[in-house]
Amino acid sequence: MSRGFAGRFEHVGQEEVSPLIFERSVPGARAVDLPALDVPAAKIPAGIAAAQPADLPQVGPMELVRHYTLLAARNFSVDANFYPLGSCTMKFNPPVNEAAAALPGFAGLHPRQDDVDVQGALKLLYELRLWLAEIAGLDEVSLQPCAGAHGEYTALKVIRAYFKDPKGGNAPGRTKVLAPDTAHGTNPASCAMCGANVVTVPSKDGRVDLDALRGMVDGETAAMMITNPNTAGLFDDTITQIAKILHDAGALLYLDGANMNAIVGVSRPGDFGVDIMHFNTHKTFSTPHGCGGPGAGPIAVRKFLAPYLPVPQVEKNGAGAPGTSGPAYYLSYDRAKTIGKVRSFFGQFSVLVRCWAYIAACGPVGLRDVAESAVLSANYLAARLRERFEMPYFDPGAKKFCAHEFVTVPKTLLATGVTLIDVAKRLIDHGIHPPTMHWPVHNCLMIEPTETESLQTLDRFVEVMLNIADEAQSNPELVKAAPHLAPVQRLDEVAAARTPVLTHGG
């Protein structure tokens, strides 16, 4: 086993319990100061002030830095660890994009400044709007949604508004939305949030069961939400038929773009029948995940859906057209049929700056290579692992390949009594973040290497996985007791849920 792999936990004292910031607190300590008040103090009327200050921790500057530095050391991250978390596209996050987002010309902009003061920002947003439309193969983009789920919600509202519009879809009774049984949980949850009735479509061999679908589409169907490449890591080649079934019935096709990393620059959703979709910039376009966020979930739509997009939209004045005055770029609230606002202000701006920077660095050819390299890396891992990790949908001999990720249901390994959790925790010992587990099907690992890992890292992952498969045979107890090298081992999640402690001292 190669030693010294970056990001292992060997350096974190295992017997030591990490104190909470509240436990480092000393009355009177303080980490920052302010200039003295240089205006006369105003009267604070009796009755408006709190009886005492909020009970926050009191720590000095050294203690503050040490505390959060040590916490960081207790975290895996893409910078330090291979992170093949399926469906999450944990690719490299370019440092240059972080610097870009922090430029005072971006980070210092107040969202309510006049358009003339923010021309550079609006230009960037306008360019990104056009780029994403082209990548989607659709007509117009809204950059507003905060994340994938928020994009789904916004798009479903757009679809609903379209069908409610007598001059649009004119079918207010279409309130049913279909989603495959492999759909991400956000799909049905987003439907529920806009009052749509979600119906689950069964799958067959990892793809949508077309016969079942035909029987389910009716005059109440507004749309089907589909993830393609799907959550089993396959490009569903029945997509044309799916689109046709829906379109023939007057319904729309929605694409959950979480898996765009497999096809960006290679194939455009608009070209395979999609009417409306969302992107996850924090997957496909390298904006960092930040321990859970922020993301951004821009949506792209066909022209007939554009009137319903949320406001504001970033627009450009007719370039130099006579009679146009005012700044070149502006935020427009002028959209008579808009669904309205879905969040305050404009959007996840600094995330969008990073997204712009990523696309600008890649360019058209680079983007295609991103997808192809992601697919190559995933198929390479699958090919090297399939001897020991059974894969229901991967068989190069039969020309069955995966997209940018693949699913394994490792029956032989599981027959030893070792569970997927055990495998996951054993990976942590090796400084590797575990893959997604038990999704989209039970007892599976979903592995997504992304395109930015080196061949050495991929090979090392194979070596570690094979090693764990060996251990499961020869020394299952070792695997079951993992992780051995982690700051904590096997937390009691049942107890956590039974008697929830969600705050310190609470």
């Binding site: 990490s18 910031i21 980490a31 302010l34 008040l37 006369p40 002030a49 709190a50 909020a54 009970d55 926050l56 503050l64 959060y68 975290n75 895996f76 893409v78 996050n93 610097a99 430029l103 005072p104 010309g105 971006f106 210092g108 902009l109 107040h110 550079g120 230009k123 905060c146 994340a147 928020h150 991400h184 956000t186 949850a189 490009f235 080649d237 995940h289 930040g290 321990c291 859970g292 966020g293 922020p294 404009f346 600008a360 660095a361 890649c362 058209p364 050819v365 680079g366 390299s373 190559l376 090919a383 390949f401 061949l455 992780p483 999640e493 956590a496 849920a497 969600l502 705050t503 310190h504």
Partner: protein
């Protein structure tokens, strides 16, 4: 540069291991007619940029702006008196330095507890801080931003009471109200706005309206300080809102500003059941409106109805304290359409910033920030009211923001300010909270007496130039 590091030779080696001749073969299930025949046509981007070119292009776009504030740094920028839901507060360098460690920036949601104790513990600290700020009992690991946090609060109230009417103070930020209207639009829930007479809503009016709905009110939503900067009487309003009607008690939703919680009575002190707000003032740069931070807290009885991720404390197999995601059966990945919310990706890194900010400030620091905001805003208000032609539009207690009636269009003052590097406030008409001869002025702890005097001089000169 697309950040792919596989060499041509390595790609060949990989293809050989798979047993195919080229990458195209791997797209066997992609029907050829869907394969893009040409390169993407990206406007103004014929090819990818090198890092140096990229930095030039970004600098050019950043340079095309006239930033209100200095972002995450110190010095430079304009004098910013803009508020309206986003504020120019001091951001200690420790916030940038600690929250932006790559182990936090480049990690995913902490699903694997053993590999994510750093994030989990920080968010547990965050939840604790938010409950202490709001005076409530439970909080989550963040929501998107202020407006959607208010939406989640209202939906939680609707779902937990089973009632269908929502009363919202007319003094709520108009963007928040607009977002609430979007979300309630296709649901069987009715929204009614309680007008704010004289800038504030009256407890009596609230009581009357709650009574008129005969026990069908899920929530009463009141922001304080409200969009005009005025402090609402939460205690009286929530007491009125929560008078039982036909055996049912509505839930009180407080829309709060976390800096104000350093000084003013907190939602929990005033009878709120749910508190929602935007955490941007807690060490988050203005960044043209996002990403910001949805803050959310509630009474313990509502714990199992909470939206978003929750971090819980537990022990590991040797009894050591640790943290994990908990009560996940509320969430979309388990519960699908029956989940308490659709949120998945949240605002982790912004919650991290807020956590470090609150730890850096501590109780005394946060109080000082809030007090300085209060004193400086009052100093500014008094000075401005002394300028002939200007007066405060509303009377009564305010925090760090206030509306002034101006003798000239607010826009003309804003335009004059641009030349002097002063952003004097927001045009009340454009914000949808007043008319075009009104300016909404926000004063944070960052502004000095001299800067406030410069604002007053600008306002004085604006009347002369007319």
């Amino acid at each position: 540069m697309n950040y792919v590091q596989l060499t041509t030779e390595q790609r060949q080696e990989m293809l050989a291991a798979i047993g195919v001749g080229g990458v195209k073969d791997l797209y066997a299930s992609l029907p050829p007619e869907y394969r893009l025949g040409s390169d993407l046509k990206l406007e103004g981007l014929p090819k990818g940029l090198s890092e140096l070119e990229l930095r030039h292009a970004l600098n050019e776009r950043a340079g095309g702006n006239n930033p209100a504030a200095e972002g995450t740094g110190a010095g430079g920028g304009n004098l910013c008196f803009l508020g309206g839901g986003a504020y120019d507060h001091f951001i200690p360098q420790a916030v940038n330095y600690l929250a932006h460690q790559s182990a936090f920036v480049t990690a995913y949601t902490p699903y694997q507890a053993e590999a994510s104790q750093g994030a989990l513990q920080a968010f547990f600290e965050f939840q604790t801080q938010v409950t202490r700020l709001t005076g409530l009992e439970v909080s989550n690991a963040s929501l998107y931003e202020g407006a959607t946090a208010v939406v989640e609060g209202v939906l939680m109230a609707v779902n937990s009471t089973g009632k269908r009417k929502v009363l919202v103070a007319g003094s709520l930020h108009p963007d928040y109200l607009a977002v609430l209207r979007t979300y309630l639009g296709d649901l069987p829930v009715e929204l009614e706005v309680i007008p704010a007479e004289g800038g504030r809503i009256a407890a009596k009016e609230v009581e009357k309206r709650v009574a008129s709905f005969r026990g069908d009110v899920a929530a009463v939503v009141v922001q304080s300080p409200n969009v005009l900067g005025l402090i609402e009487d939460w205690e009286a309003i929530f007491a009125a809102a929560k008078k039982p009607v036909e055996g049912h008690t509505a839930l009180a939703v407080a829309v709060f500003n976390p800096i104000a919680c350093g000084l003013l009575k907190r939602p929990g002190d005033c009878g709120a059941d749910i508190a929602a707000g935007d955490g941007q003032p807690l060490g988050i740069p203005l960044s043209f409106g996002g990403p910001y931070l949805g803050l959310f807290a509630a009474k313990a009885a509502l714990m199992r109805k909470m939206p978003g991720r929750l971090i819980g404390q537990t022990v590991d197999k040797s009894g050591r304290r640790g943290f994990c995601l908990t009560l996940q059966t509320r969430e979309q990945h388990i519960r699908g359409a029956k989940a308490t919310s659709n949120i998945c990706t949240n605002q982790g890194l912004l919650a991290m910033r807020a956590t470090v900010y609150l730890s850096a400030m501590g109780p005394a620091g946060l109080r000082e920030v809030a007090e300085q905001c209060y004193h400086k805003a009052h100093y500014a208000a008094e000075k401005i009211a002394d300028v002939p032609g200007y007066k405060l539009a509303y009377s009564g207690a305010f925090f760090h923001e206030f509306v002034v009636d101006t003798p000239v269009p607010a826009q003309s003052i804003i335009d004059l300010g641009r030349a002097r590097g002063i952003l004097p406030g927001l045009d009340a008409a454009k914000l949808g909270i007043g008319h075009e001869r009104q300016l909404l002025v926000a004063v944070t702890e960052k502004r000095t007496a001299g800067e406030i005097d410069a604002l007053v001089e600008l306002l004085t000169d604006a009347t002369k130039k007319k």
